[in-house]
Each structure stands twice: as structure tokens, then as C-alpha cells.
Symmetry: C2
Subunit: 336 residues, 2 copies
Amino acid sequence: MNKIDIKTLAKELNVSPATITRAFRGYSDINPETKERILALAKKLNYHPNYYASNLRETKSKTIAVIIPQLRDIFFSLAIDGLESLANQKGYHILIYRTENQYEKEVSFINYLQNGRVDGIIMSGCAEAQDHKYLHQLQKRNIPVVFFDRIYDDVKAPKVSTDDYESSYKATKLLAERGCKKIAHLGYKNARSIGKTRMEGYQDALKDFGLPVDEQLIINCLDDNEQNYACISLAIKSLKPDGIFAAGENLAFISYKICHELQIKIPDALKIISYSSSEVADLLNPSLTTITQPALEIGNKAAMLLFQILEGESQAVENQIILQSELIERESTRMR
Amino acid sequence: MNKIDIKTLAKELNVSPATITRAFRGYSDINPETKERILALAKKLNYHPNYYASNLRETKSKTIAVIIPQLRDIFFSLAIDGLESLANQKGYHILIYRTENQYEKEVSFINYLQNGRVDGIIMSGCAEAQDHKYLHQLQKRNIPVVFFDRIYDDVKAPKVSTDDYESSYKATKLLAERGCKKIAHLGYKNARSIGKTRMEGYQDALKDFGLPVDEQLIINCLDDNEQNYACISLAIKSLKPDGIFAAGENLAFISYKICHELQIKIPDALKIISYSSSEVADLLNPSLTTITQPALEIGNKAAMLLFQILEGESQAVENQIILQSELIERESTRMR
DNA sequence: TTGTAAGCGTTATCAC
DNA sequence: GTGATAACGCTTACAA
């Protein structure tokens, strides 16, 4: 019940606090028997070295922060799963921060983390278009940052991303090859870096296949399912696209629902392809053609890069890892 | 670049460290002008009070640990989203620990957390059948624990769960009412509390509808999709159930896939109902009848209970919140 | 192999 | 309103 600290434990055993430390940290300059005695009593009394006191001395926290827009997005869940498993192996702990795509939250998290609470940060940004000086402050403090997926081009840091331009190009190309003439793009509004790149791949493919780039067909979506439903529904009704390229699986799921309600046949009347990390793509009616990012691996590699820096291989700062996404064609883009 | 601490800042401004503290903690016994000077220079020099030093003094970390089996399970992602939003409001930070349903990991996380690193713990257990004395140790240290969803009945702590028995009963009843005579149950093997309760609701409903309880029809699943695929597939082929009640959406998704491959028509030849938190249930082919748990709210309530304790309303320890799940009937259980 | 003692950077208590 | 000072509980030189 009463808190027991290193000194009382030391007194109890007639050794010095330093020796207790030696036992707990696995140092070699200690008599094995002493060590055993110490650990035995510690276990019995349920003594554990105080985390905050240790860290204050060591100035290493073995903790990293992960900043992401949303957890409920399966892509991010998977990325964190991948990242956590490596972190856990390495003895690191993970703090989670959710920005909900709000720039102010991102800034405030980063500012907070200047207090030395974490050894490093892994993040997926939500504010490409904004000023990033709050991040430069961090770097001055020697707190390394690694980006994944939603990266900031103007910040010098290791980054893990996927071949967004190429995949988007391929996705749009596939729709064109399957006969679509009026291909809509459902993207996310906030000018995030990946939003831009996905858009470019889409537009370039349109041009290469002699299809006009119609601004109307580019639908800016938000994080609100209801609102997205309304605006995608409106777009489908009024513009009658025969192909949809969605930048996120939720947008595809919503499109499915709308088609079902409007009795628009997929893929006959409308073909759909979407970025997706979810295993259910295969189970939808019809099964959904996807571009699937290696989410687990992205998280894993991001953690790897961060640990490289933390372990002193500082050239890693220059690292840019670009992983391949996979285009998996299913029924939603089949020709009849 | 060079680290700046409270003393150097104090020297710079010709005040004492104590006054700096007063400025940063918003204490009233400080001249507003002095405060302004301090905060201004602090901002300029990018000074932030060291987190570990503060905590060592205060013995409050404003941090909670969340221990869950998996992050990629949408139910847990949602629960954490719900929990994080309240935590964030209250100024708390969240450490995530993933057990992957391994008892040893759960024990080791809990033991680790005895070091005073967090003010409290919110967890969903993975080892109902095992010994829980490691948790009692925690409680001696006055680190409160709140359970959600996968609760341990033998541990005295606040708990948030859903009406698992009733929902399972209702689910099984629905299948019986829709004419199923041979209802299989896909459940999770590790005898978790909710696993047991779901099972009981299933068995009691069978009895009440005059259907035999056949052990063979109770399929024990694991966390491995591949293996589950194999054993569910085998069960469907050999036992030919006409109804399936799945304890988790993954198991339902897998069943869909198997039916598709075996050309078994849902719901004509086989009706399916499943626990699910995913929004895609509605988009499957056919749409999936679900029992949907209020995941966000579960997380939110769990956090609420923990904060009540941390804020001194200790009677909260007795709290047991049971939330209602919703049965949403869709096409996968329709009669033809 | 072990002990002593000086910090780590804060904050609380008490003076002034 | 402000400053000196003693903790908080640990780790690490250095000495023995």
C-alpha cells in the first residue's frame, strides 16, 4: 500500500540504492547473489523503479508519439498495428494523437510535444497547405519526425509513402480502358499532398486517353459521411458519370449505397475503383476493384526509419521510402 | 539548440524559477506584467517545462493506458476514438498497448504500468480464464482500472459492456423465427467473458425454440483469418447449417466468401447474422443483418468512469454500465 | 563488488 | 508578488 522507493528497498536489504539500480538495469558489476536477493524482495514488495524519476535522469523516454487524422480509418489502424509491433519489440511505447484533420489540433499536439515527453514522432499530416514552422521548432529540439502517407514536401524528414501518382494514373487508365468516357474523381478537399498527387495522376491519365478534364467531375469530399453522401448523390444524379475513381474506401462505399438506391447497375452503368485497405472490398456487391496500399508495411517502415535515427544512424534523415500499391481488379470495373 | 531550462530562463529575466512556475501554471500570485514578460521570452526561446521533471514532482501524469487486443478491429478503433475525444478534452494523453490476445503480453503490460507511468488504465481483456492477480497488484498501487467489452467478472472495477446475453438470444431467436433449424455459432475460442455470454444467449434461445444444442455446430475460431476460413468452410460443407450466428464481423465476412465460393445462396439456403460495428454491413451482397454495439459510446463511457475516479468520486468503482446493442435486420436473414 | 553523493528540472513551502 | 530552498526518486561518476 504505502509507496516503496529505492531507498527503503535499499535499507531493507542493507545495500545502497546504487546497487538496486545495478540489479534492475542488468549491469554486470554486481554479485549475482545480491542481484537475486534484490529482485526477489522487489518482487515481493511489488517495487518498480519510478518511471518519471528514471526519465528525468536519463533524458530518454523510450516513447514515441503517433499523430494521425483518425483511428477508425482502417488504413491508419493497420499502419499503427504495423508500427506498434516493431515499437514493442524495441521496448518503445506509443502515444496516440488524433487530429481529426484539424490544423489547430496538429499544431497544438506538436507544440506540446516540445516538452521532451517523447523521443520521436511519427505522423500523417492533415494540413499540407498550411505553414509548418511549428515542425521546424521541433527539429531544433532534436526530436525527430517521420512522415507517412500524408507527407509534407516542405519539411525535411524521412518519409514513407506509396506511389500515389502512378496508382491514380493506373486507376483512371483502367476505367478509360473499360470504356468509361465520363470519369468522376472523389477526392478530399483539404489540399493534402496525397490529395494533390492522386488528382494529378487522374488528370494526366484523362488527358492521355483523350478525355476532357471537367472540373465539375472532381468532387471535393470532407470527413463527414452525411455530407459526402449528399454531394456524391447530387453529382451522380446530375452529371451521370460512367466511372468513379474514389480516393478513399468510404467514398466508394457511399457510392455503392447511392447506386443501390438509384438503381444504377455497377459495373454496367457505372464502374468504380477505389483506394482501399479493407478486406471487405472482396465481399461487396459487386466486389470492388481497389488500389490497396500496404498499410501494415507503411507503419512498420515508418517506425524502422524513426528507430534508425534514434539509434544514431542520422543519415536516415534523408530517407524516402516509396512503397508500391497494388491494383486488384474485381467486378466493379468489369466489362460486360 | 542548446537546451534551455527553468533556471537559465529565470536568470535571463532576473526572476526566480519559482516565478516562472507561477507564470506557466497560471497561479494568481504573480504580477501580470511579470507573467507576460516570462511567457513572451519563453515563447521566443521555445522553452517548455520538462515533462518528466514536472511529473516527478507532481506524481500525476495526466496519462492513461489503453490495453486492447487489436487496433485493426473496427470495434476497438471506434472505442478508442470515443475515448480519445473525452481524454483530449480533459487534457489527458493516451498510451496504446496491443495484446494480440496474448495473456503474457497483457500481464507484462500491466506489470510494467506499475511504475507509476499512468494515472489509470482502460482495458478490454484477453484472458478471462486466467489468473488475474497481476491486476490486484495494480489496485494496491491505487492505479484504477476500467474495463470495457471484454470484462473480467472476478476483478472489482468499473465496467462498461453491452447486453451480450440478450442480443445473442435475440439474434438466435431471429434465425429460429425465420425458419432456421440448424443454427451454427461462430465464436472465439479463448473463454472470454463475452464469448461465454454470447454462447449462453445462443444456447438458451435454441432451447426455448425447441432446437437441439449440438456441440458440433459451435465453431471455435481464433484470430487467424486463414485458419478460420478453413474451419468454417469445413463446418459449412459437412454440417450444412441453415443459419449462422457470428460473434464477430470478420467471421461473417469469411462466411460470405465461403458461400460465394460454394454457391450457397444467402439468405435462401443459409441465413447469417453477426455482431458488427462496421458501416459496410449495409453494402455487402446481400446486406448483412447485424447486432451493432455502440462502440464510440462504450469508449466514451469507459473514459468517463475513469475520470470520475481520477477526479475523486471514488464510489464510481462500483459502477457497471450496460449499454444496449441494436439488432438491425437486413437481407441476410430475410425469408423468401 | 559495493557505497557515497551530486545532480536531472521541476514545484511547494515558507519566508520576506 | 517574489525568492530561496528542499524535496520528488532515480542514475552515474567516483571512491573505496
